[in-house]
Point group: D2
Chain length 129, copies 4
């Protein structure tokens, strides 16, 4: 590898608290395998969906709960943190076919009133050594 690229990679690893270059490269490879898993629409994956919204908007809270219940066999659990009197953060853990998980995530984040959302596409771990 070019020494310039390696130098920049090493300084990134230091900032990211990696103890060795090989551990960091292993992580990059695993991340690549996890992304690959998600390209197969039927692969069994697990995703962490984070949304932030105002709980006062009751129709929104109901819509979010209805959506989760409609997919109750995919939704493992959700954790709710009351940020202040108005705002909530909700983390929903969803397991199932990657296409389904992504669709649930998209629907939750696109719901009118959700201020912010994000998905971590993760893995059930079996196919990633």
């Amino acid at each position: 590898m070019e020494s310039e690229l390696l130098k920049r990679f090493d300084s990134l690893l230091e900032r990211k608290h990696y103890s060795s270059r090989s551990e960091a490269i292993r992580d990059l490879i695993r991340r690549d395998l996890v992304s690959e898993e998600w390209t197969d629409p039927d692969a069994d994956v697990i995703g962490t969906i984070t949304i932030v919204y105002e709980h006062h908007e009751h129709e929104l809270a109901s819509a979010l709960a209805d959506l989760q219940h409609r997919h109750h066999s995919q939704v493992v659990c959700s954790t709710h943190v009351h940020l202040d009197e108005h705002n909530c953060l909700e983390v929903i853990i969803v397991r199932g076919a990657s296409q389904r998980v992504r669709s649930i995530s998209d629907s939750l984040i696109a719901t009118k009133g959700v201020k912010h959302g994000g998905l971590v596409c993760s893995t059930t771990g079996r196919d990633v050594m």
Copy 2:
């Protein structure tokens, strides 16, 4: 101790998977100390509140969310499990003065529409060796 009492205690410990009598007695003493903590209305305690309700009753879900937000500095987080298309289990972890925690628990469980509820009065661990 009377041997009859000990015999019954030992058979209980076996059913409860205790490995020794002394560990079981230590647990009884700790449980007593935790109960004691809760009798002081200002003691800093932590409680686990479990409620089961139907999420379709939107007013109920809103009432429960409002109540938790009103006490957002006591409510650490809540975990929601979607039992089926209709029913939810919600576990709310609440930390604060024992009087306040018990009052939040009573209010949540007494909310019209909550099918079942229970509180585990626990401890922040500092005063229980």
Copy 3:
């Protein structure tokens, strides 16, 4: 009912924030039905197990994690709150045959080093109107 009993019941309901006597009686009946569910060892139930322990005792943390993994098809999820530098509160939601759920709870609470534990015997909600 005797008026003395009713008077004491009403003052309890006020303390517990119930809005009406009928709501409180409905709750008592439901609680009785939930207890009944738990007497059938094969009934599908859900329980909330709370334990407090010191995370520094690594063998304890490992034992608790192993125990939960051995029963991973019953354990829905667990929520962990870091109380301070030493103490943890862990809430484990377990679903399955009542006998199995109670046995998992007993084993977790009896594990050497667990300072305090409690179980809320709850319901999946279907059989409780």
Copy 4:
């Protein structure tokens, strides 16, 4: 805007279940504001960290627990899902100065043995309308 760009944007919104273009644009703007919040190292933010690892590696589990306890005033709670007999998914919700939250996330993900990890940089909601 160029019609070609709009056409591609509209087809993306359809795939992502957005009901209107304005809701989608509002979300883009909010996402931009959230990213902006995270560029200020002292801003009060909230992040959702997801990690997957094998619970059998007891030293790893201990290292992860120690790390979270060392930052217990930032770690709100963590949710643990037992994926199978070997693998765990853990979701850690962390609140604090953005620099601190990112550093905790980097350290958790870089820990030797963690198979996969991801961070959703979210917001406490106050500064995002």
